[in-house]
């Protein structure tokens, strides 16, 4: 019982919540990989369906757990910890959305998986790898709080977003270059949303609390 009275500081709570956030991102990467593989023909949708839904349930529970912990942390430590609480409340939503968009991508995969030989196939495969790596990178950068790495990440994610927009613009035009433009547009759109949510998480390292999610307006 006396161990209970050992001094402990305000940093313990956020450190624990940050670990849980990284766990959410790791689960998010897993669901994204599974869904993208299903869409790109690397996995049978019916085989990975349960895994995706179960992992997403873990992500959702972690989000609720972090929210509860944020409330406890704010109650115990008060206004000095308000910024970290607000940031966490904002970015857990971003981490949770990765699971949701992965599920959306999976739903497209069930209806209309992408076939090898399609003009966009190799590009989508390349982006799958880049996004999967980006999820891991975002998690590491958030853990290290490395502002230079954060800025580099935001530049890279901005570049990816422009490429997604360019593809979507072409797919919605007169010469889409594929006989399946709709699922391809949706895939690029979900890729972009996932990258955008990763960027939101990383903006918290370099932007004031009120500017979170608004990097593109700076």
């Amino acid at each position: 019982m006396f161990k209970w009275f050992k001094p402990s500081d305000a940093g313990e709570g956020p450190a624990r919540m940050h670990r849980e956030l990284r766990e959410m991102l790791a689960h998010g990467r897993h669901t994204f990989d599974a869904a993208a593989n299903a869409f790109l023909g690397g996995a049978d949708p019916e085989v990975v369906r349960k895994d995706i839904w179960d992992t997403d349930a873990k992500i959702n529970e972690l989000e609720r757990s972090i929210r509860r912990e944020v409330l406890v942390h704010g109650s115990v430590h008060g206004s000095s910890q308000l910024p970290v609480c607000l940031v966490l409340m904002s970015i857990v939503k971003d981490a949770e959305r990765i699971g949701d968009y992965s599920k959306n991508l999976f739903e497209v995969a069930v209806v209309s998986p992408k076939r090898r030989g399609d003009e966009y196939f190799d590009d989508l495969v390349a982006f799958r790898t880049r996004i999967s790596t980006a999820i891991e990178e975002a998690s590491s950068i958030y853990a290290s709080q490395d502002e230079d790495a954060a800025r580099a990440f935001l530049t890279e994610s901005g570049t990816m977003a422009k490429e997604f927009d360019r593809h979507v613009a072409r797919l919605l035009g007169d010469e889409p270059g594929t006989d399946q433009p709709a699922p391809t547009v949706l895939c690029y759109r979900y890729y972009k949303r996932i990258v955008s949510h990763l960027s939101n998480i990383i903006t918290s390292l370099v932007m004031p609390v009120d500017q979170l999610d608004y990097l593109d307006e700076k």
């Binding site: 001094p7 402990s8 305000a10 409330l71 406890v72 109650s75 000095s80």
Partner: protein, 377 residues
């Protein structure tokens, strides 16, 4: 979110521990000075000052009002221990004051719940979460005060326990701590006497010093312990969120012993209840644990008391809170009574905000004032 969180600071932990130890010494010196101050005006004069408290209802009212005014039952109970330990107040007269302090202390979290008043569902939960403590304490006093007045069971049990402890070597009453505290208090009294003060002229500054030391020490002990153990409190509360019963009660005891304030513990719960992440059923045992944990202050104060009666009244405080829990907690149907009463009041308060002001004004100010006016000797 409570705005009264643990203040951020860069003071190292070891320095805070040293500060807390020094503050404990200041606290005990305050108790010693308080008990000693009345001796300066003569035993009979001192006793006559507390004649009014011989009526138990006046004592109860004084306990409530004094605690509401200083926003700390720890201060009230420590002062009572100082007075009883100094021989100015009898244990019998002090028992209702201690019970009143239990009621008075719950005003703090009720006030905290008002911070949620602009959001209906949140306020309903928060107000219920705060007032369940009020109702528990009111019911416990309504049962145990008449029982105590007719049987004296708490006092007799406390006396038996005191004799047991004192008989086991007089750990508390012949300890080097007590000698050391006595010497420090003596230096202050000698200082006043060196200025040529005597009788009332010496008693008043000594009493003022005692009260100031007690209040300041408790405020700063609470503040430092809150910073020192904030991380642990957070972890404990996180663990308590999904649990109920004895573990939650234990968490309430530990947090309150650590910060020396039941109000801190119960006020931490209010925003969590308001936000809906902590149910009344889970928060209730934590609150009851806080009632037990807060008795540590009176027990500490007894270390500096001249007479064993100081320890006796501190033990009455512990026994009263334990008995309240044993009466109202184990049987689920009875346990739910204060919770349902609090929920009912919360629902009423949402419909009519004036009820909140009326409730606090009547229970914590008007009734105690009337009690003092009607029942004082």
């Amino acid at each position: 979110m409570s705005s009264e969180g643990a203040p951020a600071s860069n003071t190292p932990a070891w320095a805070r521990i040293v500060i807390v130890v020094l503050l404990l010494i200041v606290f005990l010196v305050g108790i010693k000075l308080l008990g000693g101050s009345f001796k300066m005006v003569g035993k009979e004069t001192a006793k006559s000052l507390f004649e009014g408290l011989r009526n138990p209802f006046a004592g109860l009212a004084v306990g409530i009002l004094a605690t509401v005014l200083v926003q700390s039952s720890s201060v009230t109970t420590a002062v009572v221990v100082g007075l009883v330990g100094g021989g100015e107040l009898s244990v019998g007269s002090a028992v209702p004051v201690i019970m009143g302090a239990n009621i008075g202390t719950s005003v703090t979290n009720t006030l905290v719940s008002i911070g949620h008043i602009t959001r209906n569902a949140e306020f309903k939960r928060a107000f219920a979460g705060a007032t369940m403590h009020d109702f528990f304490n009111l019911i416990a006093v309504a049962i145990l005060l008449p029982v105590e007045l007719t049987t004296g069971v708490l006092q007799r049990s406390a006396v038996a326990l005191t004799e047991m402890f004192a008989g086991a070597g007089g750990v508390a009453f012949k300890s080097p701590i007590k000698v050391f505290i006595g010497k420090l208090a003596g230096v202050i009294v000698d200082g006043f006497e060196a200025l040529g003060l005597e009788g009332w002229a010496c008693a008043i500054p000594t009493l003022a010093c005692g009260l100031l030391f007690i209040m300041a020490a408790l405020v700063f002990i609470t503040r430092n312990m809150r910073v020192l153990l904030a991380g642990r409190m957070e972890r404990a509360l996180n663990r308590a969120l999904g649990r109920s019963g004895i573990l939650a009660m234990g968490i309430g005891v530990l947090i309150t012993v650590a910060v020396q304030s039941s109000s801190i513990t119960t006020s931490l719960l209010v925003p969590l209840i308001g936000a809906g992440v902590l149910s009344l059923e889970v928060a209730f045992p934590i609150t009851l644990g806080a009632n037990i944990g807060t008795t540590i202050t009176a027990l500490l104060a007894a270390l500096a008391a001249d007479k064993t009666d100081g320890l006796t009244i501190a033990l009455v405080h512990l026994l009263f809170n334990t008995a309240g829990i044993l009466l109202l907690y184990p049987i689920p149907a009875i346990r739910r009574i204060p919770l349902r009463m609090a929920e009912f009041l919360g629902a009423l308060a949402v419909r009519n905000r004036l009820l909140v002001v009326a409730y606090i004004g009547v229970v914590f100010v008007l009734l105690p004032l009337l009690g003092i006016l009607l029942f004082r000797g």
